[in-house]
Amino acid sequence: MRGESLFPQLEQLLPQVSKPIQYVGGELGVTVKPWDSVPVHWALMYPDAYEVGLPNQGVQILYEVLNERADALAERTYAVWPDLEKLMRTYQVPQFTVDSHRSVGHFDLFGVSFSTELGYTNLLNALDLAFIPLLSKDRTDEHPIVIAGGHAAFNPEPIADFIDAAVLGDGEEAVLEITDIVAAWKAEGSPGGRDELLLRLAKTESVYVPRFYDVDYLPDGRIQRVIPNRADVPFRVHKRTTMDLDAWPYPKKPLVPLAETVHERFAVEIFRGCTRGCRFCQAGMITRPVRERSISTVGQMVKEGLEFSGFHEVGLLSLSSADHSEIGDMCKGLADQYAGTNVSLSLPSTRVDAFNIDLAQELSRNGRRSGLTFAPEGGSERIRRVINKMVSEEDLIRTVVTAYTNGWRQVKLYFMCGLPTETDEDVLQIARLAQEVIKNGRAATGSRDVRCTVSIGGFVPKPHTPFQWAPMEHPEVIDNRLKQLKQAINSDRSLGKSIGMRYHDGEPSLIEGLLARGDRRVGAVIREVWEQGGRFDGWSEHFSYQRWIDACAAVGIDVWWYTTRERKQEEVLPWDHLDSGLDKDWLWQDWQDALTEFEQDDCRWTPCFDCGVCPSMDTSIQIGPTGHKLLPLTPVNGLRVTT
């Protein structure tokens, strides 16, 4: 029977797997509805383990807005670990939702949110476990419509054969519109089957249905063109932008897990978008323009979210939280409101300036100075101009020293390796910077008890950024640079003792690069890797570089052509028909500016520089200050009964 609970079968398997609690649901904040009470059924997946997927804001928001509707239900599913997968295959238990343990294959829609391309093999595994045909073309009216969302959906071409549709941009209004369309189509008796439904979705111009587009290739392998193969679908599909975040104060009822997860906190998104213009940052580019949530709404959400969840940590999230126009009042106001309680506030901000330290100080009044992170991203001033991260060496050292003199003993500095035009010298500058920081820190504090950790991530060129044309560096070159850097850090024993270094080797980044800028032909690699056992590719203990390289060879894909090759201006990129609002000419100009080390200001504080987003998406910057302040909370006495 459709929508029936699989729990009786599942519970026999759970005693044999690790951390069974992650598969049983029962979190605070869940909604369980009878299957037949609604026409539209959504299964939402974050394609990683529960401990990573549950805290994901995107999924929680969609889950809540969908379940608020009287005509829809939404349930969640996550990637199962290999121990349970093996048992599910042996005993024929399909991929299930954690809320009511229903078979994912029974839902009308299966929405998968990708924050990284390394989740693709987990998508294939979930489809297979759900008994849903891997290929879109093999699915029938019995199967869910498989929809990709999240940042990776801005180039879904590598998974184009496996999904039925993709949604670009903010999801909350998109899922409601899709629900309307599915509900109407079902009410009419599902005319024209699956194809008709997909057509109706495509006609919105904000849902991309890959099967309605053909890709032609040039003899040299580049794309000639991507064109609709039927007259009634748009040439380009546009991203969705949710305006007025005060009207969308989700999550109102955050999901509180019983299992341990990576973030045990109530997270409030204080704004979306970022126009700092870091050229490597896909998130900043595809989420423009900046839209702030007002201080009053944030205060209200924090109060209600804490009461609902019982969490004692609040995270004020965004791409660069110190940039909120009312962040000073917000941090001070919240710190006042929760003074003397065990509620702690955190602000993931890595801005390199004294103001950021002031904020951190405000938030750690109770004396806990755990750690501060700054992200100069590039080791030399030259490379920082290339990536448009305007931080002078002097500022950086001064900021870190201020942190030390204000009581922080441990500071983390975040950098990238493999950036366009990077030389060994640019990376070696990281060592010098770290040494200067320690030297000056010791002098200013009169203590040897100051430490810094340099943390290095691999650069991956992403679609819809000025670096979408850039060549990637070969992993061997990266690994060699990191080796030199390590030696340079330890070249001075006394300083080196106070400097830690954390990094990943270059190989996973290369594969992420292949998937990020891949076209439809790369789908065969993903499938081959999955067939050879590839799962959880975002986890170093599960990722196998060799498996990916072998798969490329097996299906005849030249990994280097996709990664280390520089693209020319006239090349048709696999995602050109997907509209993030950014003007391709502007992106190209910004790429040229990068090469000539020319910096670009932020349009929040200087005039619009015509990146294209606002006019093409009919949006505009929404920032404060509103001038409002947070008022003291009235202490509540007496026991509270939740209903």
Binding site: L13, P20, I21, G26, T90, V343, L639, V641, T642
Partner: protein, 255 residues
């Protein structure tokens, strides 16, 4: 908020409340650590005036008297809360229960009015164990063989590696029931609290050691469904006395 604390120290404990709770259905897969986190959050959600320990990182005053193993259901787990304000226990029970997921259920709250720790009053437990994939008759003869032994050594996997435990010594009583032909047979089991504790799966291993009992279910004995029905003080007559009975009978001084 309830968590305001006077400057310069933590408010003292003015009331201790003893609580019986259950772990039911799918949430029997909650581990003890998971439950400990959930109860801490529930205390905040319900605005319970919990007291904190002194020191640099104050901890809420919660003491657990028992921890049913992950995957095992229970109708009789106990914990004690130290409060900085006196509350009405039934209101506390309702508030706390409403702040937890269904399946983690607060069954009873009693103000502690007697000396001695709750843990000392727990010397035995009664279990109901559904044994899948065995017939009632094969289970019955295995039980007879088991009870006839003085000692039955079984192997258990611990973090330190394999070790042998005696599964027989702690068993006070064991009675199979159910109907012939049912997919599982049921064991009624009374086990004394010993260290290391003897769990239902140890007893089932014991049955296969002495009588070669095997299960045809997917996970074998691993997929047995066990429920701790009662915990308390074992009397010489073999009865188990509810550990909250004394507190219930003695009116609280400050409650």
């Amino acid at each position: 908020m309830s968590k305001r604390q006077p400057p310069g120290g933590q408010a003292p404990v003015v009331q201790r409340v003893r609580i019986r709770y259950a772990k039911r259905g799918p949430l029997r897969f909650t581990s003890h650590r998971d439950f400990a986190r959930a109860i801490e959050r529930a205390i905040h959600r319900a605005n319970v005036p919990i007291a904190y320990s002194q020191g640099f990182t104050p901890h809420p005053k919660i003491s657990f008297c028992s921890a049913a193993p992950t995957g095992v259901a229970s109708e009789a787990e106990y914990l004690e809360l130290g409060l900085r304000e006196a509350v009405e226990p039934e209101q506390l029970r309702t508030a706390l229960d409403s702040a937890l997921s269904p399946g983690l259920d607060i069954l009873e709250a009693v103000v502690s009015s007697t000396p001695g720790s709750l843990a000392d009053r727990i010397t035995a437990a009664r279990w109901r164990v559904e044994v899948p994939g065995v017939t009632l008759s094969s289970l019955s003869s295995a039980v007879d063989a088991f009870m006839a032994q003085e000692e039955v050594l079984v192997e258990r996997l611990t973090k330190q590696g394999r070790r042998n435990v005696d599964a027989r010594g702690a068993v006070v009583n064991m009675a199979p029931y159910g109907s012939e032909g049912a997919p599982c047979a049921i064991l009624d089991l009374v086990v004394r609290q010993v260290t290391p504790s003897v769990r239902p799966d140890d007893v089932l291993s014991g049955l296969s050691v002495v009588a070669g009992l095997e299960s045809s279910a997917p996970g074998g004995f691993l997929s047995c469904r066990a429920t701790r029905l009662v915990q308390g003080t074992l009397t010489p007559q073999g009865e188990i006395v509810d550990p909250l009975e004394l507190d219930r009978a003695t009116p609280a001084v400050n409650g």
